[in-house]
Subunit: 214 residues, 3 copies
């Protein structure tokens, strides 16, 4: 049942999980960490967000239902450990694949949440939690500055894509394929543009923080 | 049902959530964070504790049931972003409102936990988790020293109020209103006194830490 | 029911929880933390892992079902606070007791997970999560380098013991006692050896991190 739900997206989902684990290792690992730590870094990046989502919406945790994901992410993290040099050379293309993964998981999370009877607004938040929590957990574990502390445009494309997706579902309930492809495309395009041109929020949307050190 | 439960406290609850989001932004935000990060800081402060509580006691997560809270906290965080100067000027009164919010949510958390059939001791812990977890999560996200690392008297008033409240429920099961008001008043009074006179634990209750750096 | 499940291990479980709280305080507490912070540090170390496990496998959280654990861990943390000197002198023996506790909780976590109908692979992961999460949460709260950042051989013995245990259950389904004792002994032996000889992963299993600061 639950497996069938994800069947059409399964291949992209699998690639997405592997890419998350690899980019997670590249972005999070520190010199001298042992292989066990590297695997944890990869798994937390790949599964942190979906796990928090499933716990909040009270659904069975997705990687328990589909344990293949764990093998794939573990393998990917081990490969990233041994082939670090190679993956750094392909980091930009990997970030693009990461954008595709995030875009897809956003749509999957929204579908899953709506199917459980939650409102569109809750579903959009669950897409966002799925997309950003793993990376934040990784950065906290690895003692690196996380998403909230950086100005990378990572979360905003997910949010825009999610809002667009639930609106399209309301307007065109039968155009499932078009809705899905549009929502994925919008996230990928904004995210890739952000990577390519180092887009950030404009200055007036950055916190002035005049007295925030009190 | 679950909504009705909170109905009498709804107005104060709404103000409490807004105040948590605002004090959360003031205490947690750092210069240069973008608006998205500021909103996350506000939401995590306002919802972190109640979310962890609901996940542990296996209740539906409160802000999903009452999504208005999310709009309110988001709006409050955005206002705090743009009116930082104004809110710093009113920070002391805001901290007092924060104390009222914490006191109220403590009582609500205890009521909710007891209603689900848990023991008074579990309920007191759930009040505490509700009151302190959001701020701790915010400080970890924002890379600031959290509650555990500071000597602020923030958690202790909640604990004292919670213990008093469950004892009063045992002794005077019919005096609902008096019990509630007393429990809220006790937390507010101790917390406000702590803010006003910078109260901390006495020195003999601070960790000596002779070898803790080993 | 659920209590009976743990009855034979109850005494060791109780000692394990107390030891976790004490070693948690010794390893995590910092000079100047107040008694409340120390108790939180002890409780988080003792209960963090089991709580995350129970939330993920959707079981009632163990310390709510068995609240005595909370009293024991709280008492142990308070004793550690006041008798820090004494416990530092016995830190090595305490670490050995900690190894016994981790080994036992690993087996308990695997049993509990299997009993709920999950696969052996999921059960092994739950043993690992139970064993390492509390210490990681403590270190994040206390702003100290966590397990992932250090090369201590802490998680690997748990993983080896867990894999061995589920294999033995498959091969010798009736040899419950022997399986349990073997799984506990393997974890304790490897962990004690790691403590005694400062064992770590070999150098080729440490992350080279050539460009990881990008």
């Amino acid at each position: 049942m639950s497996l069938a739900l994800f069947a059409p997206d399964y291949l992209i989902g699998t690639i997405g999980i592997a890419v998350f684990a690899i980019t997670g290792v590249l972005a999070g690992a520190k010199k001298g960490m042992d292989l066990f730590g590297i695997i944890v870094i990869g798994l937390v990046t790949a599964f942190g967000g979906g796990t928090l989502r499933d716990v909040i919406i009270d659904a069975p945790v997705f990687w328990i239902q589909n344990f293949n994901y764990v093998w794939i992410a573990t393998t990917a993290a081990i490969i990233a450990f041994f082939m670090e040099d190679y993956f750094w050379k392909t980091y930009k293309p990997l970030l693009h694949l990461d954008a595709v993964g995030v875009a897809l998981f956003n749509v999957q999370a929204i579908d899953k949440t709506l199917l459980l009877g939650y409102t569109p607004a809750v579903a959009v938040i669950m897409g966002l939690i799925t997309g950003i929590t793993g990376g934040i957990m990784r950065d906290i574990l690895a003692d690196r500055p996380n998403l909230i502390l950086k100005n990378d445009l990572y979360a905003t494309p997910i949010l825009i894509g999610g809002i667009l997706y639930v609106i399209m579902i309301q307007l065109f309930p039968n155009a499932t394929t078009i809705n899905t492809i549009t929502a994925i495309a919008v996230v990928v395009i904004i995210r890739v543009a952000a990577i390519r041109w180092n887009l950030t929020f404009p200055k007036w949307l950055l916190f002035a923080g005049k007295e925030s050190e009190n």
